[in-house]
Amino acid sequence: MNVARRVLSLMHLCFVLQNIMTSRHTHTKRIEGLDKNVWVAFTSLAADPSVVNLGQGFPDIPPPSYVKEALAQAASVDKMNQYTRGFGHPSLVKALSQVYGKVYERQIDPLKEILVTVGGYGSLFSTMQGLVEDGDEVIIIEPFFDCYVPMVRMAGAKPVLIPLRLKSGKKTVTSADWFLDPDELSSKFSSKTKAIIINTPTILSGRDELQMIADLCIKHDTLCFTTLPGMWDRTITISSAGKTFSVTGWKLGWSIGPEHLMRHLQTVMQNTIYTCPTPLQEAVAQGLQHNFELMGQPECYFSSLAEELEGKRDRMAAFLQEAGMPPVIPEGGYFMLVDVTPLNQDLSHMVQDEAYDYKFVKWMIKEKKLAAIPVTAFVGEESKKQFEKYIRLCFIKQDSTLDAAEAILKNWRKI
């Protein structure tokens, strides 16, 4: 073989080796199939300033000023800029034990029964990783906040889905008209069931249904990721400073539960994040302290915010109805589901293999400059047909945003 050919064959060999080398470093099995995410897909589309964004669930109204001031003040104290206690800043866990102690009417140990996490999200993650094993089953009610399924799968467990169903023949629908079929729910429990996840307030808020779930949990010795009377020993309750004080960008949340479960969540925390930001925790502690004293009174932010949102909810429901889109009036939360079937929007020109609601939202953002979130992002494959005519709108928005949305809907048929 002459020199040139020898060199060429050596280069070829190197090239082949290069391919072999880099192909070894692909993703790990635990993240198989988890790369798609509705928020990453839609937030950039909605970020266009000319789009009225009723999609992602964050307020565009300012948080209470005392909360912002508390953060500015906390950050000016030297100690508050350095590490604090891993499982939760002392003043915060103390305030949480007071507020929730009153809500649950029980003594909550701030050091053993509370964990502060990076958002409600971080609590869901710590719970899943701390309590759910490979091979377990976890029951999730559709529609569900989209992260539940990937988190269950990342823990090596199997999500078992059950859809809420609509009672037929109703003219004006509220979230109370959606129900869980008791026999269907019971059939989802098996010897492998480790837990059921409940998200409330959401569509599901009725007391009878929650009691039905509680009874099944007790019967099957299942954990419950919410709180219900008589359920303390098997429930982890998860909440969020971001949603409580309209500061979603603070990313602080917490889990509350019995010590024998909480210590596993605390161990996850030690091995993943270790501790949450100090000044943010101090500020939330002050906000909670402030409102604890006002609990039960109209000035309490927990009441005043709900009242303000009820007005916005009613307003949005009215202009949706006028536009011919029947809303599902929510009994709680930030969001309203809307059935777009009556609009009869022809989307046959959109050729992507996606559910109707995904196409509808993309079309609506482009043509109507109004952003929402498709509801099939919150359901499993089998339920897509049942939910693909629904979109989700967020109403925790200032009046000018709601005005702009109303104007778009009024002009809908004109274009």
Partner: protein, 416 residues
């Protein structure tokens, strides 16, 4: 994960409690007790009074102003175009960046080489990801008698021993430079040895560089990702907390080629989702300021190591006077000291199987009111005994704290 989880750091929690109970002067914990620089506190104040967006969700993988400046800042250092949206991930502290890296890259049965002494979280994180740790120790090379104070630079890896740890199951090696607890700053030649092995065996490198701005005596921090063949296989981790003396902000980042980063992003998305907006905005402004002042005397990255240089010298001389033998760190927050020559009888104090450094730390905290950390906690169980004659001091403390420590050490040396 739950079955594999171990509650860790019980030793840390125990020593921290002991320090608090005895109201000890605390040189144990690794965080400053002085304030972050004014400009960073000002940046946060400004961010907080910004529009409503400062208090609401930002971009999942990192607030745009922050990822842009990180890409620009570090791109200039490594001499390559870093894509802010593909190559950078902002995390809840460097701790979460490490977690994402291990979960994204380590599979059941993979081997990961840890260079001892190592920051103790690496081991449980590797094990959590189903990996197996393989250890190789830095060792003090023989010094000529009377050749001055021992330095962290004397602690080296044996290239043969290191090479022997690589095999077909090796997935990654973890290095930390400047090192906690030793203070070693790896030289280019040392990193080249590691890089050659990584390239030859197609192994990834996780490089924990949280103390990157803290180098002393003219030592330069070198990024292994900047060596040939290493960008694609290195995940470089940094910390806003250590960079701006604001550990309580809990913000960090991971930077690597998109090929690796897309997987870290998935773990991040499934665990934390995103980091707080306002602190990211403030850190972005901090880096923008430092980008302009880089290399000049006004740069915080010049001023902080200059300030700590003095504190380090002072502590070393007090420790020496008290009979401990400090190892002068070339970088970082910490100094280790050899306690072998200390004239204290601890035989009645020690519990049966307790390493010597544990016993010493408890004695020093209780009897002298000075808290430190035992260095054997930074070693694998199999090597703990070999390295149980060192304790670790943090000197990133204000003068009053170091003066109090100095008083204790001086009084102790006078009784000897």
């Amino acid at each position: 994960m739950s079955r594999q989880l171990q509650a860790r750091r019980t030793a840390w929690l125990e020593f921290t409690q002991l320090a608090a109970d005895h109201r000890a002067v605390n040189l144990g914990q690794g965080f400053p007790d002085f304030s972050p620089p004014t400009f960073i506190q000002e940046a946060l104040r400004e961010a907080l009074s910004g529009g409503y967006q400062m208090h609401q969700y930002t971009r999942v993988f990192g607030h745009p102003p922050l990822v842009r400046i990180l890409a620009k800042f570090f791109g200039r250092i490594v001499g390559r175009e870093i894509d802010p949206f593909e190559d950078v991930l902002v995390t809840a502290g460097a701790y979460q960046a490490l977690f994402c890296a291990f979960q994204a890259l380590i599979e059941e049965g993979d081997e990961v080489i840890l260079v001892e002494p190592f920051f103790d979280c690496y081991q449980p994180m590797v094990e959590l990801a189903g990996g197996k740790t393989v250890h190789v120790s830095l060792r003090p090379s023989q010094k000529v008698e009377g050749s001055g104070v021992p330095s962290s630079g004397d602690w080296v890896l044996s290239p043969e021993e290191l090479a022997s740890k690589f095999n077909p199951r090796t997935k990654a090696i973890v290095i930390n430079t400047p090192n906690n607890p030793l203070g070693k700053v790896y030289k280019t030649e040392e990193l080249q040895v590691i890089a050659d092995l990584c390239v030859r065996h197609d192994v990834l490198c996780i490089s924990d560089e949280v103390y990157e701005w803290l180098t002393y005596d003219g030592n330069k921090h070198v990024k292994i990702a900047s060596l040939p063949g290493m960008w694609e296989r290195t995940v470089t981790i940094g910390s806003a907390g250590k960079t701006f003396s604001a550990t309580g902000w809990k913000l960090g980042w991971a930077i690597s080629s998109v090929h690796n980063m897309k997987n870290l992003k998935i773990i991040h998305l499934g665990s934390v989702y995103q980091c707080p907006t306002a602190t990211q905005e403030a850190v972005a402004r901090g880096f923008e300021r430092e980008y302009e002042l880089f290399g000049t005397p006004e740069s915080y990255f010049q001023q902080l190591p200059a300030m700590l240089h003095q504190k380090r010298e002072k502590l070393a001389s007090c420790l020496g006077a008290a009979g401990l033998q400090p190892v002068m760190p070339e970088g970082g927050y910490f100094m280790i000291a050899d306690i072998s020559s200390v004239k204290v009888d601890l035989s009645d104090q020690s519990t049966e199987d307790e390493p010597k450094d544990f016993t010493f730390v408890k004695w020093l905290t209780k009897e002298k009111g000075l808290a430190t950390m035992p260095v054997s906690t930074f070693y694998s169980p199999e090597h703990r005994r070999e390295f149980s004659q060192y304790v670790r001091f943090c000197f990133v403390k204000e003068d009053s704290t170091l003066n109090a420590a100095e008083d204790i050490l001086r009084k102790w040396s006078q009784t000897q």
